[in-house]
Subunit: 248 residues, 2 copies
DNA sequence: CAGGTCCACTGGTAGGATAAGTTACCTCAA
DNA sequence: TTGAGGTAACTTATCCTACCAGTGGACCTG
């Protein structure tokens, strides 16, 4: 198959470089960025491109810009939003940062039962209909990747049904974080995604407005899939640890 | 007291205008922005300023820019991050959007017990020491606003103690959302903030590593303060509803 | 040595020129 | 008639230069 080639603009390149230097702690909180003129000279790009990159860093709350003064690096742990998670999930060598991954799994684990419960309260029959339709599709799906996609759409529908905009926006950031790991997740969750009874049951409980039972069922399902991911992360951690030892 | 005067640059102004038009649905998802040249002419600013504003909109995932094509508005419910919550919390007249506020209160309610539990597991004595020091300060505090600030720092410390970067980043967005409502929250939570036993108890349970009990105590506390906020929101909703009826 | 002035930086804004990509439409041959 | 290809008129992307505006330190000066 063909993949759409991604063209990276100059200002994107500058943004990525600076963001990486910040999240990899090569530029620490409180330190000053080189001046725009110096940066543009060092990188061989126009000052314009540098300014646009810095505007994005500012929007991501990674730097603080002061007219007339130097631009300083902020503490991303204190200032940045969940949008930064995709950048924190991998280190410079492309290895998964296990701590960050566990954090994300945990947050998903905590939010999911509440999402299901709130969807049961606020979703109504319309949400339940869409959920049932998705479960029908899941029943017919054969390829694991299709199942994974449909399961994700199921959760998206639950989030919408909860009517909670804060869940919705947090979920968006989590989705962006999952994307680079999509194939890997499909393998990890292969067994859990086949628990169609759970999905069907959730749709039913949403239809009946049974919040507590929906939360309970969601918890069961999510705890299972969280365990699957965490077991993978344990193995991954051992493997990379051994790899480091072998190289040392 | 003096307040730092906030100077808004031209590109900030352009960004605010465009972001507001998007969140207020004057520019709907799928619609096209005017071209950069047209925008800069309409707003009476340089194309540079417009481009910098659009770069920030792009970083916030409110628009999609395509080289050679028109820039289109994205569906912020599907794409944006929790960074957008402060903009969603107020409508064009500066009135609180009660649905958004309830969403935020709910998310805080769901996350807080888990934060406390994880802090109990991962925080250790160092976290407990800092928590106890904060409770000491709270005991000595007299002004409600100081109590509020210290209580917030207490939760920040719990989040740090949980060691969960996803909690941390989500919490950052929530903090940015609270900020414009700080004085109002101080009034609403006046009674709850005086429950120093809860704070002291949480510090103790973190020290002893008792996750379940910490979650339970956190839930008790957060449910109480959530009720207080929701009661205010109910009254606020009635009031604004009456106000609308009177004007009609 | 406090207070003010100046200067050498910093980021902010403007406008123009050109490159590169998209889109709609028009032309022309099969 | 239809479809392939080219063209024209847009769009965003990039760069350049010039100048405005704010900051902070050096350096006078009373």
């Amino acid at each position: 198959m063909f993949k759409a080639i991604q063209k990276r603009s100059v200002s994107d390149e500058v943004f990525d470089q600076l963001r990486n230097r910040i999240v990899y702690q090569e530029l620490k909180a409180g330190e000053e960025l080189p001046s725009e003129r110096l940066l543009s000279e060092m990188l061989g790009v126009s000052r314009n491109a540098v300014r646009e990159a810095i505007k994005r860093l500012q929007q991501a709350r990674l730097v603080e810009v002061k007219h007339g003064g130097m631009t300083t690096v902020l503490d991303y742990r204190r200032e940045a939003s969940a949008d930064l998670l995709p950048s924190l999930l991998f280190d410079q060598d492309g290895q998964i940062q296990v701590d960050a991954a566990r954090s994300i799994v945990r947050m998903r684990q905590v939010l999911s039962p509440a999402i299901a419960a709130d969807a049961a309260v606020n979703g109504g029959a319309a949400t339940a209909d869409r959920l049932d339709a998705l479960v029908d599709d899941m029943t017919a799906a054969v390829a694991p990747v299709d199942l994974q996609r449909l399961a994700f759409e199921f959760w998206e529908e639950l989030v919408d049904g909860s009517g909670n905009i804060a869940y919705r926006l947090a979920f968006n950031s989590l989705r962006k974080t999952y994307e680079p790991l999509w194939e890997l997740l499909t393998q990890m969750l292969d067994r859990d995604l086949r628990k169609l009874d759970s999905f069907r049951g959730l749709a039913m409980l949403v239809r009946e407005g049974k919040a507590d039972e929906a939360a309970e069922l969601a918890r069961d399902y999510i705890d299972g899939s969280s365990n699957a991911i965490n077991q993978f992360l344990d193995l991954y951690e051992q493997h990379t640890q051994n790899h480091l030892n072998n190289n040392a």
